[in-house]
Amino acid sequence: MIKDITIGQYIYKDSLVHRLDPRTKIIVSMLFMIGIFFIKDYYEYIYVLALTAISIYLSKIPVAKILKGLKPILPLIVLTIIMNAFFTSGEVIFQFLFFKLTIEGLALAAFMSTRIIFLIIFTSLLTLTTSPINLTHGIEGLLNPLKKLKVPAHEIAMMMSIALRFIPTLIDETDKIMKAQKARGADFESGNIIKKTKSLIPVLIPLFISAFTRADELAMAMEARGYRGDEGRTRFREQRLQLNDYLILLFFLVLTIFVGIRSVVF
């Protein structure tokens, strides 16, 4: 169901990972993304697995919750497998027209899909352990140096935080309206693609209307409380990196540089 979407979903737990500075977590996620591309051999994923498992364990997020987050990207994984398995040249096992299934292709498919799965799992830890507000504060913090180049860091962060803030609300709302229309006999499951798309009209119209009403009310409420952008705005909680942040940043930085150099040198 629509409720299964875990992107942008924050789960509160009292854990080491939750307490890290959002900037640390964003940088670590990026380092992980870079690092994983340097991995050449299949057996090296054991280290990635260990790293991911330890991170999940420390974050206290239930594993089932994280695995459920993989569901929406299943089509992407399947596509990757098919593309790699059939369009890599090598020793042919099986041929159908111009599709050739090769041993090298199968190996590559397994390798690539493992990479995607780890990428998604690790980065979803970022959104699962960081509240949307903290996430955007983190992004704003990292973009801050670019303000000198007239990059509207604050506005970008504010737009993102509002969008993120309303994802769960919109999901709830969609769920509620879908239920209400189902109760009126609407059918979202059967029929061909045109019929299915058409059946969404009774959901989309009320959804848009409520989204616009909400946007209007939010703008009004923000103005009423004196919001006028970045200028002169102070924070309730100033972000400051702790010892943990430095240690973890250092660890990941060294690790990434190490795998990077190793892959270039060897």
């Binding site: 109760a183 006999g185 009320p206």
Partner: protein, 288 residues
């Protein structure tokens, strides 16, 4: 004939142990056709969750529901029949309106269950008449330009137009002004009589619950913790207060009178007329 819930359970979040305490647990109840059933309980006690099982919007993870000849369990298919049989009015039902005209919106349900052109028109006319919406005046207006109360009526008409046998009302008057509230409830229970419906009525207003329900279930933390007639349930004032619930106005007044030593009788829910009589008699005693 009637509705039987046999040990149904539903947990919202099965993966996360800490969150899986939300939902409903092991609920059994039996309701005769044509009765008005009141459901009360603190916010988050599972009332809406339970109600959504009655027309298979949520399927029970354990147990089964029997409504006349239909059985709902975790494998149920072909839910259209059950949706036709059980009409469901949600909290703030006007949020679901989407058509250009009131007529089209009310016709949405009947069309979905496969009625023919003329039948649809008849169903819409009848539903609008039931809710005292003038057909000629409203049928071509946009549902979005109506007042809150009128929108609510149109939204309820969309459900009534499917001609259900069971009607679930989940806080149908939330957000209306006191007079509209009273009028709408009176109207709804008039419809219950003329259409011979079984009604489930969820409300936080104990006076409404006392006035309109023949039998009451009290929910707390996903379970039914008390049941009985209005008289029975509302005489257990301490237990209700422990559950974070109120009592009808008359019970509150009688309790107050008793505390002040003016009233010595039994504390129970009565309607306002009887309450006036009690007070009148008390005044009489004093004047002697």
């Amino acid at each position: 004939m009637g509705i039987i819930l046999d040990k149904i359970s539903y947990k919202y979040d099965i993966e996360d142990k800490e969150l899986s305490s939300f939902g409903i647990f092991d609920i059994s109840l039996q309701v005769e056709s044509g009765k008005a059933i009141g459901i009360i309980g603190h916010t988050g006690s599972g009332k809406s969750t339970l109600m959504q099982h009655l027309n298979a919007l949520l399927l029970p993870q354990k147990g089964q529901i029997k409504i006349d000849d239909y059985i709902i369990n975790n494998k149920s298919k072909n839910l259209k029949d059950i949706r036709k049989k059980v009409g469901m009015v949600f909290q703030y039902p006007e949020d679901q309106l989407f058509e250009e005209t009131v007529f089209k919106d009310i016709a949405f349900g009947p069309k979905n269950i496969g009625l023919k052109e003329q039948e649809i028109e008849a169903a819409v006319k009848r539903a609008m008449a039931d809710l005292e919406l003038d057909y000629e005046e409203y049928k071509d207006r946009s549902p979005y330009e109506l007042s809150g109360g009128q929108k609510r009526k149109v939204a309820i008409a969309t459900v009534i137009a499917m001609d259900p046998d069971v009607l679930v009302l989940d806080e149908p008057t939330a957000g209306l002004d006191p007079k509209s509230k009273k009028d709408l409830l009176a109207l709804l229970f008039k419809i219950k009589e003329t259409r011979k419906l079984t009604v489930f009525f969820v409300s936080h207003n104990m006076d409404d619950i006392y006035l309109f329900s023949e039998y009451i279930y009290v929910m707390s933390q996903g379970k039914i913790v008390m049941e009985g007639s209005g008289l029975e349930v509302f005489s257990k004032t301490t237990e209700l207060r422990e559950l974070g619930l109120g009592v009808p106005f008359s019970v509150e007044v009688l309790e107050d009178l008793k505390k002040q030593g003016l009233y010595r009788g039994e504390i129970k829910a009565i309607d306002l007329k009887e309450l006036a009589e009690v007070i009148f008699n008390l005044l009489g005693d004093k004047n002697d």
